[in-house]
């Protein structure tokens, strides 16, 4: 690989543009600020929320430290959650295995190699009861990273809460439930875009009525960024998705102010520190404008963006993996200086494997050090007024709104996704980034600069799901099917089938199915039959 060139490094070889290609001046000053900055900023906790959703931010309440975890059977994951809570984590974030995300039972042939691998295997509401055994659902906030099967998983979760005697109006947490970004980036879609949008709307509408402490959708730029987009595309595509959801739900007759306050967002935090801070400041301001101008929001909460920040995994490297501790610290700072409401920090080994307990603890400690030792939490929005950061905030906002205009002109997100167009934008940017790594215009320490001959091929101890845990998940399911009231399950599933053919909200029928012991595979087989399955158009 390229040898170090001290002469050029001292001269500063970083290209004079941000990670997303915004040209950067040598020095910023008063002249770089457009008039009206005070109005564009507003006060912290006040419109247009550029400076943050709350007046006191971290002075009053630190962000929620939420590490994503889950693997194996419900019992295995339950043990990891107890450990994380014992270490000072304040909320849970559940990772589900791919069969659960795609609506297959653990015994399905499609699930064969994947049970319990990238998350916990959940087949029934009973599994969810075991997952939260001894963890008080009336007090904990739980994030479910689930999308195509979100309505089913929410139903299972609500049954688990019921069993603990926790009423629905006490249940707190988030279900990711952002299907549009699945087509864009994360790819655990099942049903076509229109059917997917209906299911998202069903969850949002049900939550508006029954789950006042629950975020029924987390509109996500994070995965779009991880799939290769730049910051502008991340912003533009996430907010265009938010517009599509809001249009769908208001079209069904629910007023914007009834649900908008519970919409939450999820952005990435990568390494271009100032651009990342500018990105989320721009996001809050953009959402305020969209909510008030496009949807006529009248309640302040309807236009006040709250977001979860996930530190980027794609900035981590397999080479010299301990360097990732430093990268994650910078990402964490970007999230906090941007005013995130909850943060996940990656484990340093996460480019290679499911993080070890040791690296998860270090990731949590990284957050705690930023929170308690760095001093960045002392004042609200500490970078406000920086000529550079304010100029970047304005620039990213303009560029992202231009992208939204392009999507509007193309018929909106659902139409554009069906044609595969935004998917191609993201793939193209990913390819450009890779080419810059190859030609050295983008520096990656330990990868294309400062490589070490002593670096050997990484040999991660890749997480192998314990075969006995996989078997346990399958045995549990077989035992469950033997012991349940088969007639009751069949009746509940028949009720669901009828609802799927109608315009009615699926959630009540799903709760009936969950209580009657129907499995995620049975439920999604009905949905597959009704809605069909989506396949992405060719990428080139």
């Amino acid at each position: 690989m390229t040898a170090p060139r001290p002469d050029r490094e001292q001269a500063g070889v970083l290209p004079a543009r941000t990670d997303s290609g915004v040209p950067v001046h040598l020095v910023y000053g008063q002249d770089d600020l457009a008039p009206g900055l005070t109005e564009r900023l507003g006060p912290p906790g006040g419109a247009p929320y550029t400076r943050g959703p709350y007046p006191t931010m971290y002075r009053e309440k630190l962000w929620t430290m939420r590490q994503y975890a889950g693997f194996g059977s419900a019992e295995d994951a339950n043990a990891r959650y107890r450990y994380l809570l014992s270490q000072g984590q304040t909320a849970l974030s559940v990772a589900f295995d791919l069969p659960t995300q795609l609506g297959y039972d653990s015994t399905d042939p499609m699930a064969e190699a994947e049970v319990g691998r990238v998350g916990v295997a959940i087949d029934t509401a009973e599994d969810m009861v075991r997952l939260f055994d001894g963890l008080p659902l009336g007090e904990l906030s739980v994030n479910h990273t689930i999308n195509a099967t979100a309505p089913v998983i929410l139903a299972f979760f609500l049954v688990a809460a019921e069993r603990q005697g926790v009423p629905f109006d006490r249940v707190a947490g988030t279900t990711q439930n952002d299907l549009l970004k699945e087509f864009l980036a994360r790819k655990t879609y099942i049903y076509p875009p229109a059917a997917s949008l209906r299911l998202v709307g069903d969850v949002v509408a049900f939550a508006a009525e029954h789950l006042p402490r629950f975020n029924p959708v987390s509109i996500t730029g994070y995965h779009v960024r991880e799939a290769g987009s730049d910051a502008v595309q991340e912003l533009g595509l996430a907010l265009a998705s938010a517009i599509a959801y809001a249009e769908e739900i208001t079209r069904r007759g629910l007023p914007f102010d009834r649900f908008a306050g519970r919409l939450s967002f999820h952005f990435s935090a990568t390494l271009d520190l100032f651009e990342e801070v500018a990105k989320v400041r721009a996001a809050r301001r953009m959402w305020h404008r969209i909510a008030t101008e496009r949807f006529g929001a009248t309640r302040p909460e309807s236009a006040r963006m709250r977001f979860f920040s996930g530190c980027s995994g794609t900035v981590l490297t397999a080479q010299q993996p301990l360097n990732n501790v430093v990268r994650s610290t910078i990402s964490c700072l970007a999230a906090v200086l941007g005013g995130a409401q909850s943060v996940h920090v990656m484990g340093w080994d996460e480019a290679l494997e499911i993080p070890s307990e040791e690296s998860v603890r270090l990731a949590l400690r990284t957050q705690q050090i930023v929170a308690h030792e760095s001093g960045v939490t002392r004042t609200v929005d500490p970078l406000a007024g920086s000529y550079y950061v304010e100029s970047l905030t304005d620039e990213l906002e303009q560029r992202a709104f231009a992208l939204i205009e392009r999507i509007d002109a193309g018929g909106g997100m659902v139409a554009m996704l069906a044609e595969g167009i935004p998917q191609r934008w993201v793939a193209k940017t990913a390819y450009q980034t890779e080419r810059e790594l190859v030609d050295g215009t983008r520096v990656k320490v330990g990868v294309n600069r400062y490589t070490d001959d002593a670096d050997t091929d990484a040999d991660p101890r890749l997480f192998e799901p314990d075969p006995s845990a996989q078997e346990r998940a399958r045995d549990r399911l077989r035992e469950h099917l033997r012991n349940r009231d088969g007639a009751a399950a069949a009746a509940a599933l028949a009720g669901l089938a009828a609802v799927l053919r109608s315009d009615a909200n699926v959630m009540p029928a799903l709760l009936d199915c969950a209580r009657a012991g129907a499995t995620i595979g049975e439920i999604n087989a009905l949905m597959r039959a009704e809605f069909g399955e989506y396949r992405e158009p060719a990428p080139w």
Partner: protein, 153 residues
């Protein structure tokens, strides 16, 4: 790089790319597909959640010189075993298989023992992947040409 994609026999290298299993991480395989196209290869990308039966059938129907699969969920050993068995059962042992993904040195060695032609783990430079795949494609074409010559002779 553009001339490298033209395999012996005049026609461009034909590369079949697919993701078996349930994993949806397709950033890498799309980047590699674009790089191979820029290098002159014809790339057939089957997309996500393809069964090994579908992959092998497409390799035969598309007259592929190489099959490339990508797995980032950790399920690469089981899925690759199934794919190689399916390929061999179809009598297509001449089509080499490459595997990319979150694969460490130990598993890479296991995959090569199973009969995988090349393994590209996290952090493999893009030009290396392109050169390896095009080299394998060229070898497949040469083998096919030699077989044809032997039959004709």
């Amino acid at each position: 790089m553009s001339a490298a994609g033209a395999a012996p026999g005049g026609r461009p290298a034909r590369v079949l790319l697919a993701k078996p299993g349930l994993d949806g991480h397709d950033r890498g395989i799309k980047v590699i597909g674009m790089a191979l196209r820029d290098a002159g290869a014809e790339v057939i990308y089957l997309g996500l959640r393809r069964s090994v039966t579908e992959i092998v059938a497409a390799a035969r129907d598309e007259d592929a010189d190489v099959i490339g699969i990508s797995v980032l969920s950790g399920a690469h050993l089981a899925l690759t075993r199934a794919l190689l068995a399916e390929r061999d059962a179809a009598g297509l042992t001449d089509i080499p298989v490459t595997v990319g993904g979150t694969i460490g040195a130990t598993d890479a060695a296991t995959l090569r023992e199973l009969g995988v032609a090349a393994v590209h783990g996290v952090g493999t430079p893009l030009p290396e992947v392109v050169a390896t795949v095009l080299g394998l494609a060229a070898a497949t074409r040469e083998l096919a040409a030699a077989t044809r010559a032997a039959v004709a002779g």
